[in-house]
């Protein structure tokens, strides 16, 4: 378990604009109290707004994650080490999935030390572990044992230190370079974000990539074959040739957990949400109306992520801006961006009211299409089979009972739209839908949701 103290402090550091600091352990009582930091990217090594610790120490941990169908899955993970815990020295950060999101500023000299503490459920395991940094250049390593891809930390407390200069802004994967078919599947991965010299509200050193820093989102895609995880947990042979993923995750969560806020108390090991919470596009301040949506795929399958009824603008790949040699704009719009395995796509997104049709403007329809409604409302409010998944949180929707037959129960006229993998078998939890690689965007009326 992560320290509550550190969480609260981190929230404070992260969100100076926070009107109401909400410790994750407290139920969130109103959406309007939802601060950006509660749903957008959390930089775990951020020591002050925009200031990132460049010396990160990670350890291996193991634990369990929850799937909305009631299953739990045994996972491995990277966790922040106690020694650089800025808040609570001596308190070990616990297992989390995915690994901590690390942010750096372009040009920062980064060192990442990995200590192989093994995995508590498997005390006799002697697997070495490591980290590779696809997209980073000039990565060197000290100590450690030579491996095929990089230096490795041996079992029994072995360490390895990686050093590189975060010379390229963008979004990057990090993950195990040791037996990656097993270790990455088991959860040894995370995201690295490098903010450009131009400013934290840009994706690249390219003025066209400006976005509203309150709307900086990541969607880290992965798949899980629970049988393989069971095999590891039980010390049985791990046979990747039998790989048959059943769970499809965004930021380590499966829908509808994806729309819960960061650090939701009922998801203690899955800290990262994937809900977009935005306002309609405002042409008058267009530069600040874009959201950054950073896609990463650490799975073995390519995933076509679809912003339902909409499209996004792809501006970068693998931490490289889509610009020609002379700075030509090679960005492009897609409504079914395929995120290739091992790849990242940096995109800009906005939502225009006109997309609702002629009745746009104020009076946004508050109908949530029926399938989603079943997740978002209290089970007793309607006769639905998935009501048991309802968390009990009023996070989406109001707290009062909804009259029978009324399907519109927004808080302030907000509108929800689905984002999902368009490989529709991935929009499921163990072949049962809806679930899996789905999240939502919430569009508030212009000006935001009144308190």
């Amino acid at each position: 378990m992560r320290s509550l103290v550190s969480k609260s402090l981190r929230a404070t550091l992260l969100t100076l604009t926070l009107v109401l600091v909400v410790a994750a352990a407290s139920p969130i009582t109103s959406l309007s109290a939802q601060a950006p930091g509660e749903i957008s990217i959390v930089c775990e090594n951020e020591t002050a707004p925009g200031i990132y610790n460049n010396a990160v120490s990670l350890v291996t941990q193991d634990g369990y994650i929850g799937i909305p169908d009631g299953n739990t899955v045994y996972m491995w993970g990277y966790a922040l080490d106690v020694d650089i815990d800025l808040v609570a020295p001596g308190v070990q950060y616990g297992f989390q999935h995915p690994g901590p999101t690390l942010c750096f500023t372009e040009g920062q000299a980064v060192t990442i030390t990995l200590t192989n503490l093994g995995f508590s459920q498997l005390p006799s395991l002697t697997d070495a572990v490591s980290i590779i940094f696809p997209g980073q250049t000039g990565v060197t390593h000290d100590d450690g044992t030579p491996g095929l891809f990089t230096g490795e930390a041996d079992s029994g407390g072995g360490t390895v230190t990686y050093s590189f200069t975060a010379s390229l802004p963008g979004t990057f994967i990090y993950g195990s370079g040791t037996d990656p078919q097993k270790q990455v599947q088991m959860g040894l991965f995370g995201a690295i974000i490098v903010r450009p010299t131009l400013g934290p509200n840009f994706l690249y050193n390219w003025t066209s990539t400006q976005f509203n820093p309150a709307n900086d989102y990541m969607m880290l895609l992965s798949e899980i074959d629970p049988d393989l995880h069971w095999a590891v947990e039980q010390g049985l042979p791990y046979d990747i040739t039998l790989f048959h993923p059943r769970y499809w995750l965004i930021n380590g969560r499966s829908f509808p957990d994806t729309i819960a806020p960061n650090d939701a108390e009922w998801l203690p090991t899955q800290p990262y949400g994937a809900l977009l919470h935005i306002e309609p596009f405002d042409a008058a301040s267009s530069a600040f109306n874009y959201s950054a949506v950073r896609f990463l795929n650490v799975g073995m399958r390519n995933h076509p992520m679809h912003p339902h009824g909409d499209h996004i603008q792809v501006v970068g790949r693998d931490g490289r801006p889509l610009q020609g040699p002379l700075g030509e704009d090679l960005s492009y719009a897609e409504f079914g961006p395929v995120i290739g395995a091992g790849q990242t796509k940096d995109t800009l997104y906005n939502w225009e009211e006109i997309q609702l049709g002629p009745s746009g403007s104020l009076g946004l329809p508050t109908d949530i299409f029926e399938a989603l409604n079943q997740f978002l409302l209290r089970p007793r409010d309607q006769n639905i089979m998935w009501g048991e998944w309802f968390s009990g949180s009023p996070y989406l929707g109001q707290t009062t009972d909804r009259p029978t037959g009324v399907t519109a129960q927004g808080e302030c006229g907000e509108y929800y739209q689905i984002w999902h993998s368009h490989a529709l078998h991935e929009a499921a939890n163990y072949e049962s839908g809806f679930g899996g690689m789905i999240t939502l965007e919430r569009i508030d009326p212009p000006g935001g949701c009144p308190p």
Partner: protein, 439 residues
């Protein structure tokens, strides 16, 4: 039956031609390989039109004839995986001069021979089919209609002709006969490279990387296999799985063109660790170049990327399928992976200069127009005459440069006239003559 000696002679001749036609074939027959001695069960008489013309070593568009055989591997053609599993394959082989498949030592390979032609070539491909079912070839991107009949089983032949008008990297594979999908998965595929008419300056070396998969159950019993059960267990680059894959070598500081061909039935994303690559073309079509670490090739697609080689000689960078097909039938690490390694730049040799006129020890009256003629030669660049610089030890540089310079202002006296050639590596070579100017 032909005698073995005659076969060997014909084989050598065939190889001469094939070597010109098939640059970089991953499995190139060698004269030392024992020819197939099995009796010809289906004797074929190659029509005159199918006999390859004498090879013309020129980048200009030409008529090119390629003879391919489709056949099943025998013991020397089976693949051996890193775990020592032996995989029988169906593959294309070089048909040599005559396309008489029983008459050459070439054995079927996976992938098949890399076919390299020049842009504008009129290409004729003769297919001779030794398999027990019809086989056709699809030359993707060449504008040919689908051949749904192909060469008949057990000795049938067919011919494809096309003009290789677009430079690029292409896939050829078993075409749309009823069993085509299975034939591709068995190994009937390869790369077709159409070299550009003018050599681009953007890269100095290139590597063809054909990606494919093996489901050993299919290969063990192709007739009894249902492709709905296709589940590959080996993941190959140029027919090899790591650690048997070839390391890709390119000199420090140069640019490598990677020509990827996905002949598999599933997608593969090829990524680099520590480097990135500039994607410049897909499916034989140039596109606005973009930089990425990894890029996906769907089944049947090709991709050209440029990779800038770092300066550190000996440095190695993993090149691997980021879809993580990195096992050999479950044993990790293996599969679709190799390394790119930085090699030292080939040593540049200095050029040489020669002076053809005037003759050494010539004498001229002052004011006479004297014309100096010479050439510059270089091992790497062949002709560096244009770089020639001329100097007099008495008067200094003579104005002008190149193969011919003239002057009428040489002063009276005995001059040592030096011609110096310079190559692109800034190395020089010079020669001199003595010329006397009289009052």
């Amino acid at each position: 039956m032909q005698t073995r000696a005659i076969k060997q002679i014909r084989l050598s001749l065939a190889l001469l031609i094939v070597t010109v036609l098939l640059v970089g074939a991953p499995v190139m027959a060698s004269p030392q390989t024992a020819p197939q001695t099995a009796p010809q069960t289906a004797p074929q008489t190659a029509p005159a039109s199918r006999i390859a013309a004498a090879p013309v070593v020129t980048p200009l568009a030409a008529d090119v004839t390629i003879n391919l055989c489709a056949e099943a591997s025998t013991s020397d053609g089976h693949l051996t995986m890193p775990d020592l599993t032996v995989i029988p394959i169906w593959g294309f082989s070089n048909g040599g001069l005559t396309g008489n498949c029983a008459d050459v030592s070439a054995i079927p390979s996976l992938p098949g021979p890399t076919l390299t032609v020049n842009q504008g070539d009129a290409v004729t491909v003769n297919l001779s089919n030794q398999l027990g079912e019809n086989v056709s070839i699809a030359f993707h991107g060449q504008g040919l209609p689908a051949d749904t009949v192909g060469a008949a089983a057990s000795g049938g032949t067919t011919t494809y002709t096309f003009t290789a008008s677009n430079p690029g990297t292409f896939l050829y594979e078993a075409g749309l006969t009823p069993n085509g999908a299975k034939q591709v998965a068995m190994g009937l595929h390869g790369a077709l490279i159409v070299l550009p008419a003018t050599s681009p300056a953007t890269y100095t070396s290139e590597k063809v990387l054909v990606l494919s998969e093996i489901d050993p159950v299919l290969n063990a019993d192709p007739a009894g296999f249902n492709m709905l059960d296709y589940a590959p267990k080996y993941w190959l680059i140029n027919g090899e799985a790591y650690p048997d894959t070839d390391v890709v070598l390119a000199p420090a500081g140069t640019t490598l063109l990677a020509r990827y061909v996905n002949a598999g039935l599933t997608e593969h994303s090829m990524g680099l660790l520590g480097l990135d690559q500039m994607v410049i073309a897909k499916d034989g079509h140039a596109r606005p170049a973009f930089r990425a670490v990894s890029e996906t090739l769907a089944a049947g697609q090709t991709m050209d990327t440029l990779i800038t080689m770092p300066a550190t000689v000996g440095a190695r960078y993993p090149l691997y399928d980021t879809n993580r097909h990195l096992d050999n039938n479950g044993a990790s690490l293996g599969g679709m992976m190799t390394f790119i390694e930085v090699t030292s730049v080939v040593a540049n040799t200095p050029p040489t200069a020669s002076i053809s006129a005037p003759a050494d020890l010539s004498s001229f009256v002052a004011g006479t127009l004297v014309t100096f003629t010479g050439t510059g030669s270089d091992t790497e660049e062949i002709d560096v005459t244009a770089s020639l610089a001329w100097t007099s030890d008495l008067d200094g540089p003579i104005s002008g440069s190149g193969g011919t310079v003239s002057t009428s202002t040489l002063s009276v006296g005995t001059h040592t006239i030096t011609a110096t050639a310079t190559d692109s590596g800034a190395l020089t070579g010079s020669t001199f003559i003595t010329v006397t100017i009289t009052p």
